[in-house]
């Protein structure tokens, strides 16, 4: 019984105390202003290309606080969470004043480290009511991350110590395995020896290699996503354009020709700029991803149009005539006779076009689409090493090399099939004869001029055109003979140049 009374009394007492505390707290609120209130406390993001603060990685803490009007401060101490390392090097205190706090006064202070605390002692007591900024460099939070609670005290001119008002916690994310591996590598002797070579350090720094990989891979998926959506969209559009260009109606032909010539006659970079900065001005708000897809698809469709047209026109006229004489109409001829034959012929070139389009996604970096180059760029900017670009290059090669190999196989297959595997010389694609169709030749000339820096594209198209014309040649024996002769000629001349090189 007695116990119960005492416990009831305790509860009552606790209640009273709580009320009192609350009351004091309430009344003390205005008085609380007589303190150094934290305005903000942040850490500089150190994760490449994001706003995150990582543990075990160098960062800088910026704490800002407003002193009460009658308080003249002589020193500030910030206590960092346990396991945090930092230096007093570069640490500084700045007093901000004036309208919008845009006046800066450097406070001369000495800094010392006491356990987990950094102590700043001002040479002279600062004017009362100052707004202070305290920056601590080379801070490394614990690797485990979490909400980092800082505490602080300050010293008044009269020697009193007081607590700094509550400091908002800094969210720190734990280091990922790549970071850990990187710091582990950084300590290895062979890595240090490796990095002491300037060239290797700039281009193939192992520590940056491992950290940039997981960052750049995000861009890889973005780039792949863009091209995997854009390319299939471009195919039907390109086919329609190709049919329009071959149409008997002058209007359709005119529209398609104009479109193809304009798109192929201007740099993709410019098209991207116009779409990203121009369309929104016209009131069309499109998010970056779909807009990027649309621009690339529209660009690619113009090139695909020419590929399809070359493919369709490479089908011998006899095929048209034969199907018409079987009673098929124009659409049926196209759909059931010509296009199925075309598909096989254009697949290698289309694959090349895919490769080019995939590489062209890098141009979207200029307008802020977070793809491979963009991510690599942000790390290069932060580290000053070119290594992330090398990583980026690998992400392009991962796609382009196998595809290029496939193109090679397809072309071989095509050449063998169409040529009945008879002409070994045909495999030397670079020495294959030029197309005999003058229109096709003209197109190729346009293609080679239309995109500056894209010689490859023109070259690859030329190769396809050559394959196509090679196919033609079988039908027309005469051509084949001519080609064989010219190929032999070219072979001879290239041999000559090779021997010239060797010399």
């Amino acid at each position: 019984m007695q116990q119960r009374i005492s416990s009831a009394a305790a509860v009552l007492m606790a209640f009273v105390v709580a009320c009192a505390v609350a009351f004091v707290g309430l009344t003390a609120l205005p008085a609380d202003a007589e303190a150094l209130d934290t305005a903000k406390c942040t850490a500089r993001p150190n994760a490449d290309g994001s706003s995150e603060v990582k543990g075990a990685t160098e960062t800088r803490i910026t704490w800002e606080g407003q002193a009460a009007e009658d308080e003249s401060i002589k020193g500030i101490t910030l206590t960092l969470p346990q396991g945090t390392s930092f230096t007093t090097k570069n640490a500084r205190i700045t007093m901000l004043s004036g309208e919008d706090l845009m006046q800066r006064t450097n406070i001369d202070a000495s800094f010392s480290q006491e356990g987990d605390s950094i102590v700043a002692t001002f040479d002279n007591a600062a004017p009362a009511g100052g707004y202070f900024r305290f920056e601590v460099y080379e801070v490394k939070f614990p690797a485990t991350g979490g909400a980092m609670e800082l505490t602080g005290t300050y010293e008044l001119a009269d020697g009193d110590y007081k607590e700094i008002g509550e400091i908002p916690a800094i969210n720190v994310v734990s280091v990922d395995p790549a970071e850990e591996l990187s710091s582990y590598l950084g300590k290895q002797e062979w890595v240090q020896a490796w990095n002491s070579n300037k060239f290797l350090h700039l281009f193939l720094d192992p520590t940056i290699l491992v950290t940039s990989f997981p960052v750049v891979v995000k861009g890889f998926f973005m780039a792949l996503g863009i091209v995997l959506v854009a390319f299939p969209c471009a195919i039907p559009f390109g086919l329609i354009l190709a049919l329009m260009r071959m149409s008997r109606l002058r209007v359709l032909r005119g529209i398609a020709t104009t479109y193809v010539n304009v798109v192929r006659g201007t740099p993709l970079f410019l098209q991207i700029y116009i779409a990203f900065f121009g369309l929104p001005l016209a009131g069309m708000q499109v998010p970056p991803f779909p807009l990027g897809v649309v621009v690339l698809a529209m660009n690619s469709s113009a090139y695909l149009c020419e590929i399809f047209r070359a493919g369709i026109q490479s089908i011998p006229k006899g095929q048209f005539e034969a199907s018409r004489s079987l009673g098929m109409n124009g659409a049926q001829t196209m759909l059931f006779v010509i296009i199925p034959q075309t598909v096989r012929r254009v697949i290698p070139t289309m694959t090349s076009e895919f490769i080019l389009l995939y590489k062209d996604t890098s141009l979207l970096a200029a307008v802020g689409v977070m793809e491979v180059v963009m991510y690599a760029k942000t790390i290069v900017a932060a580290t000053g090493s070119i290594t992330p670009y090398i990583v980026a290059a690998c992400f392009y090669l991962v796609i382009t090399l196998p595809l290029a190999k496939i193109v090679g196989h397809l072309e071989d297959h095509l050449a063998n099939k169409d040529a009945g595997g008879s002409k070994k010389k045909k495999r030397k694609k670079h020495k294959a004869p030029a197309p005999l169709d003058p229109e096709l030749e003209g197109n190729l000339a346009v293609a080679s001029e239309s995109r500056f820096g894209e010689n490859l594209r023109a070259a690859e198209k030329a190769i396809e055109a050559k394959a196509v014309s090679a196919a033609d040649s079988l039908v027309e024996e005469l051509h084949a003979e001519k080609e064989a002769a010219s190929a032999a000629l070219r072979g001879a001349s290239s041999l000559a140049t090779e021997s010239g090189k060797a010399e």
């Binding site: 850490a43 845009m102 080379e138 060239f199 001005l281 970096a365 802020g368 760029k377 000053g384």
Partner: protein, 265 residues
């Protein structure tokens, strides 16, 4: 076929060898004249800059103008060198200075930060700037609500890649999307076209941009970050840093820097 492959191998070998030789020769050059600074070309100071940063450096027509351009010319004159500019993307300048071979120095609104100082040497500082955030006037963000309104999910802040403005925005507006662009002109173009809600970069640049081209934008937040501008020099070229520091000192003493500051700001 085999002969051809062999030829390719030989060619590659030759290429690698020439690279190696080239590397050696450039190293030799720098060690030969250890008592003096080295330059890419004798008598020419090649300055790497990103000419999209008015009033520090920008193109007017095809003429390069700006505070740092004139200061660079003054320094070159002081050193008895010819000033030559090389246009690069901002985030490519420090790598270019570190790697060497492209530029002698970088002078493109570089703020002194300890992080950057690990990669390159800074000269003495010659200008102090702050950060500012600008929005379009019809955005509905004002000076009073900027701190909160900008730190929202869905807000896109355009920054120039590799700048202190980028880091400032990431640190102070962690909830917003920080969208990096190649240069500050693109940042403003992105904001005007609605691709971004705000631009965060150095105050002098924001002010100049608003004054000259984007009258329908306004500054809603500023922070006296006190960023000290300096010239970026390779760590392998400490003598050049010294020489530039001396030139800067002279220009400070004879009032050239004050004159230029008055002219451009």
């Amino acid at each position: 076929m085999n002969i051809k492959k062999f030829g390719v191998v030989v060619l590659l070998g030759a290429l690698v060898a020439s690279f190696g030789l080239f590397g050696c020769s450039s190293n030799n050059a720098s060690s030969d004249s250890s008592d003096d600074y080295t330059l890419l070309n004798d008598g020419v100071l090649v300055v790497g800059l990103s000419p999209d940063y008015p009033p520090f450096e920008n193109l007017e027509g095809d003429e390069l103008v700006g505070f740092e351009v004139e200061l660079g010319q003054a320094i070159a004159e002081e050193l008895g060198l010819q000033y030559e500019n090389k246009n690069l993307q901002f985030d490519a300048i420090i790598p270019a200075v570190t790697a060497g071979g492209q530029v002698d120095i970088g002078m493109s609104g570089f703020t002194v930060t300890p992080e950057r100082a690990e990669q390159i040497d800074f000269t003495d500082t010659f200008y102090i700037d702050d950060q500012a955030v600008a929005v379009m006037k019809d955005e509905g963000i004002t000076k009073d609500n900027a701190a909160d309104a900008l730190n929202q999910e869905g807000v896109i802040i355009a920054v120039q890649s590799g700048t202190t403005g980028e880091v400032y925005a990431q640190e102070n507006y962690p909830n917003a999307v920080i969208q990096p662009y190649g240069n500050s002109t693109d940042c403003f173009a992105a904001m005007q076209s609605g691709q971004a809600n705000a631009v965060c970069t150095n105050k002098a640049v924001v002010e100049k941009m608003i004054k000259d081209a984007y009258q329908n934008a306004e500054i809603v937040a500023t922070s006296a970050t006190g960023e000290e501008y300096a010239i970026v020099v390779s760590k392998d070229n400490p003598k050049l840093t010294e020489a530039i520091n001396e030139a800067l000192k002279k220009l400070q003493e004879n009032g050239t820097i004050d004159e230029l500051t008055a002219k451009w700001f």
